[in-house]
């Protein structure tokens, strides 16, 4: 600050203020989104079940769909040692990270299948088909039994066995390796 008089500084600031309009609270760009277009895009499912559609699924129907649409990559049961192995129950001595031994939320299964599967026709499954596949995978991983029906109410209530092991990142930088 040495060498700059306070008067000059004040004048400088005033000039700056005069020539630089404040950033507005809003620019008014973009257009309002209608509820219909939000609904058409919003496919996300939360772990509390928000976003889950109507419908239900069971193991037997899921098995048929899985064998028809998923087996080419995942094997007929999902337990085959593919790079994308899905099935191995919690406690099995399997290195692969599967739904049964690694996934912390059952809702994620529905969300992911619906948005990204099958690989050769992503987003092509009906909600009902996704529920069936979800039930098939949960049962195959010994999380539900083969008679349990999965729907918007029951799916978020399932407690996945691996959830107990999840911890939040606690790395903070500084002189510590974590």
């Amino acid at each position: 600050m040495k060498g700059i008089s306070s008067r000059a500084l004040v004048w400088g600031l005033l000039l700056y203020a005069c020539h630089t309009p404040d950033t507005p609270a809003r620019f008014g760009f973009g257009r309002p989104a209608s509820q219909a277009e939000i609904d058409s895009q919003n496919i996300s499912i939360r772990p509390d079940g928000a976003g889950l559609p109507a419908g239900s699924g069971n193991f037997a129907a899921g098995r048929s769909i899985f064998q028809a649409k998923c087996a080419s990559c995942h094997g007929p049961t999902g337990a085959e040692p593919t790079p994308n192995r899905l099935v191995a129950a919690f406690g099995d001595t399997v290195k692969a990270k599967t739904i049964g031994n690694y996934w912390p939320y059952a809702t994620t299964i529905f969300d992911y299948i619906r948005r990204a599967m099958p690989f050769n026709a992503p987003g092509s499954l009906t909600n009902e088909e996704v529920y069936h596949l979800t039930a098939f995978l949960l049962c195959s991983n010994k999380i539900i039994d083969s008679t349990t029906v999965i729907d918007a109410r029951s799916l978020p209530r399932i407690v996945m066995p691996a959830k107990q092991y999840y911890v939040n990142d606690d790395r903070k930088g500084g002189n510590e390796v974590k």
Binding site: T23, A25, R26, F27, F29, G30, R31, P32, A33, E37, I38, Q41, N42, I43, S44, I45, R46, P47, D48, K97, I99, Y102, W103, P104, Y105, T107, T108, D111, Y112, R115, A116, F119, P122, G123, A162, Y165, Y166, V167, N168, D169, R171, K172, G173, G174, N175, E176, V177, K178
Partner: protein, 407 residues
């Protein structure tokens, strides 16, 4: 008379004809061999050169390429200088390929816990104040080891740096009236994986950007054309490309990519989640495999970076880690950015082991693999591995990677 005739032929056409005949044209029905392939290069002061083109070219003698697999392409770090990654060499990683998106039809929807759910076109996004920032993006699964004949590209080529330009997400949050009670937002891409990640609102308000430009031009398709999320210093996967939707919420969505992937097993069977920050790291890119060196002065060069801040210093050892000296950091040293370092070393011709170790401005020092194993257990996953990387210099000048053991 002759002079007049000369003037009737446009200079440009003459130059073009000369250049063509000098390089690829048919001369008397005989195709002139490609001088680069034959190694017979005419004296460049005795023939006209190529005329200006619509796009620049690389010298045909320089052919840096990405190392591509079905799911990723890795940056050839050993071929680069300075801190900016040429856009066509920026690493790429996708989960369902690179989508083709019409910029005229592109829209970004922001909704959820906001006062005004809004749709922004690309044109809308570009009307907002345009900020630029130079920073790296690194995949959190960016460490490979296993054999001596590995290049920096193969070891950790899933990091690259660009100048990103776009609108700050905080500006868009203000525009839509994001709720102060919101704690997380979901970012969703419009690729065939419809990739989603949950991100704390705090990051969104702090320094997140919706980027539509990279190194001065429209962002490349492989990096998210026409717009992507850019989260300085955070793991690459969260920087959702081809972003189409942001849902403001009060909890994480627990998507597949933040539960079954991009989490790491640590000690006591624990699974660490939401590991956002990229820890400080460095790699010597010269000398490295497959380069060879000669006895005498060698300038050791490389890059260092931290997702938490600026690089404070880079320490170099040329004796296998017994002694360390600071490298020179090349300006600019930027926050959350690749920083170029150099270190002059006189090699006496004896076998040597050289390595670099980054320290960032939080005081974090890049660990050895053993420290990572000690901290996380030998079953630690493959994410967020940033070990000190050593090169072995053989008596004949060959440079080999010293593979780290994972156990």
């Amino acid at each position: 008379m002759e002079e007049k005739n000369d003037k009737k032929i446009p200079r440009r056409a003459m130059l073009k004809a000369a250049a063509l005949s000098a390089t690829t044209a048919l001369m008397g029905g005989v195709k002139v061999p490609d001088p680069v392939k034959t190694g017979v290069i005419p004296d460049p002061t005795k023939v006209q050169g190529a005329v200006p083109g619509k796009l620049g070219t690389r010298s045909p003698f320089e052919q840096p390429i990405k190392k591509a697999s079905e799911i990723s392409g890795r940056t050839p770090l050993q071929d680069l200088y300075g801190i900016i990654t040429p856009s066509d060499l920026h690493f790429e990683r996708s989960h369902a390929g690179v989508p083709l998106i019409d910029p005229q039809k592109y829209e970004l929807l922001i909704h959820g816990m906001v006062e005004r759910p809004t749709v922004f076109t690309l044109k809308d996004l570009k009307r907002f104040p345009a900020l630029s920032r130079i920073a790296f993006i690194e995949c959190s699964g960016n460490f490979r080891t296993g054999k001596e004949t590995m290049t920096p590209q193969e070891i950790c080529g899933l990091t690259s740096q660009s100048e990103w330009t776009g609108v700050m997400l905080s500006t868009l949050f203000r525009e839509v009236g994001a709720s102060p009670k919101a704690t997380w937002f979901l970012a969703e891409g419009s690729d065939a994986a419809v990739m989603t990640r949950s991100i704390p609102m705090e990051k969104g308000w702090k320094d997140a950007m919706i980027a539509y430009a990279q190194n001065g031009e429209a962002i490349r398709p492989e990096q998210g054309y026409p717009a992507r999320l850019f989260l300085p210093g955070w793991e690459g996967n969260m920087n959702i490309k081809w972003i189409r939707r942001i849902e403001v919420s009060d909890q994480p969505f627990m998507t597949r990519e933040e539960t079954s992937k991009y989490t790491e097993t640590i000690k006591d069977h624990k699974i660490r989640q939401f590991s956002f920050d990229m820890d400080a790291r460095s790699i010597i890119t010269y000398p490295s495999y497959p380069q060879e060196v000669e006895k005498g002065w060698i300038e050791i060069r490389g890059i260092a970076w931290s997702g938490r801040g600026k690089i404070d210093r880079v320490e170099i050892s040329t004796d296998g880690g017994k002694h360390w000296n600071n490298a020179v950091l090349q300006e600019p040293v930027l926050d959350k950015a690749h920083t170029f370092f150099r270190y002059l070393w006189r090699w006496d011709g004896n076998p040597a082991e050289i390595m670099s170790r980054a320290v960032d401005d939080t005081g974090y020092r890049q660990p050895f693999m053993k420290q990572l194993i000690d901290a996380r257990g030998s079953d630690m996953g493959g994410y967020h591995l940033n070990p000190v990387t050593a090169w072995l210099i053989e008596r004949d000048g060959k440079v080999l990677f010293k593979p780290e053991k994972r156990k």
